[in-house]
Amino acid sequence: MSRARIYPLWAPWLFLAPFVVLFGVFMAYPLISSIGLSLQQTYGPGTSVSVGLKNYADLIRDPLFWIAVRNTALYTAGSLFVQLPIALGLALLLNRPRLRGRAWFRLIFFSPSLVGLVFVATLFGLILHEREGLLNAALARVWPAFPREFPWLQRFVMPALILASLWMYAGFNMIYFLAALQTVDQTLVEAARVDGAGPWHVFRHVTWPAIAPVSGFVALLSVIGSMQLFELPYILLGGPGPESRGLTIVMYLYQNGFETGDLGYAAAIGWVLALFLIGLALVQRALQREALS
């Protein structure tokens, strides 16, 4: 700070006060108490036994936990490599100059974000039914070799969830990409076209570099959100589903904490997830810093 400060010292804290106070009360305090909880086995006040790191040790040897990790990773990969590219594709199409009905398309693609999860789950239960579902009926029409009974919600739970979340979130992420595309310098695009560059070339060398930072941000948000997947499969499958194929890390946390009442174990699961995500965020920051320098 070379320039003299020209605002009172209290000014930033005045603006930060609501966040800092509420964060302290409703976030930091519960978080810290959950550290203590993760080192106990508890059945309410007066019935707590300190067990040290046993909850963590048990967790590492718990096959269900690893199933949850596998499923969550699969879903996250689906969000990253299926949903985001589709969202980007829609945004690129909508961004074409002289497109008619742009506002309508935008509204349509965004509209699933307006509906509550309860309804989405009810709806996809109907759509994905192995025999009577809309999806299988539609697939059989366009591709007659498609098996009459395709058990989405029995065997292909994660692909089914990726489909449902594609419907729900692709439009939202599309808006992020659309926003990013507004910042692309159109004169550069025109110049490249004049030089005879094809659409792929323009995208690769002009558009992508401009939207890469936003894409990184969207990807990070998407990973954080995906790693916390819980309500959609919980309502859609009414629990972990067959062979725990719909079990996610946060669902396992919820089951242990609120169905079994094992709050200590649940807290341990939460902390393992949180530590993993913190590590991930640090790695992303480091990578970004490297890319900038």
């Binding site: 964060f23 959950s34 509550g116 659309l178 946390l253």
Partner: protein
């Protein structure tokens, strides 16, 4: 060359129309379901087929579900609609204000502890919400906020995500020089915030307002835990309760969902421009 671009544009429309159709099909299901009678509900995916005009069995359609929403007092639909409007507007307005204030402080002030608070914001983004459920509920009880809208709204007023978005947006949209010039002219800090900073990040205000409004509008687990009296329950809870234990009146469920989408849809159409501009300003790396 001309034909090639025409072809590309036709393909664009084709793909967009196809995607739009896929996006809308579930909504069509919803709208059809809201008007089908109990008997006809499971008979067809969309409209009941029959011998009536247009090949539709018009006797399988009814307005009864919509009418029942507003006339059956045991559903408490009217009260819960009001509750939802109140809860979602108050919490989205206050949360947006808090987020804007926090983001402004982090974006445009240099002070000891800024790095630490920024790290807190980023850290808070990644805390899994269920980890906090049990301790938060006990806390709200100890603070005497159970069964109050305050207990429902206050814990959500420090949205780390919002602080982060506003920090980015203000870095992009509010020039430091402008702030310093205003201070030279003797503008107080609070006035500066409300008269210069807020108007400049108006798009982000709209975007974040919409995001938090949708979140609050569709929240159905939180209210049932914090609020104890059914006369305070919002619409999402009233609709979730239609999904009964011994059987679901699907038509009623669909009608309730349909009506509940209308306000957020209207808000989105109204704020569409801000929404996109806002996310632009928040997402771009500053």
């Amino acid at each position: 060359m001309k034909t090639r671009s025409q072809l590309a544009s036709a393909a664009t429309y084709l793909i967009l129309a196809g995607a739009a159709l896929l996006t809308l099909a579930p909504f069509a299901y919803l709208v059809c379901g809201a008007f089908k009678t109990r008997d006809a509900f499971f008979a067809a995916h969309f409209l009941p087929r029959g011998s009536g005009p247009l090949g539709i069995d018009w006797n399988g359609l009814t307005l009864e579900h919509l009418a029942r929403l507003f006339t059956d007092p045991s559903l408490r639909f009217g009260v819960s609609l009001l509750n939802s409007v109140f809860y979602a507007s108050v919490s989205s307005v206050l949360a947006t204000l808090c987020a804007a204030m926090g983001g402004y402080a982090l974006a445009r002030f240099a002070f000891r502890g800024r790095g630490f608070v920024t790290a807190l914001v980023l850290g808070a983004l990644i805390v899994p919400a269920p980890l906090l459920l049990a301790p938060t509920y006990a806390l709200i009880h100890r603070l005497g906020l159970l069964d109050t809208f305050a207990g429902l709204i206050v814990p959500g007023l420090a949205p780390a995500f919002g602080v982060y978005l506003f920090r980015q947006a203000i870095r992009n949209a509010v020039p430091t020089d402008l702030l310093e010039a205003a201070r030279m002219d003797g503008c107080g800090e609070v006035r500066l915030f409300f008269e210069i900073v807020l108007p400049l990040c108006r798009p982000m205000l709209g975007a974040f307002l919409l995001i938090t409004f949708i979140g609050a509008w569709n929240n159905f687990i939180g209210p049932q835990i914090i609020l104890q009296s059914p006369e305070r329950f919002p619409l999402a809870v009233a609709i979730a309760q239609v999904k009964g234990v011994y059987g679901t009146d699907y038509g009623l469920l669909m009608a309730g969902t349909l009506v509940s989408i209308v306000p957020v849809m209207a808000l989105f159409i109204g704020l569409q421009r801000e929404f996109i501009a806002g996310l632009t300003s928040g997402a771009v790396k500053g």
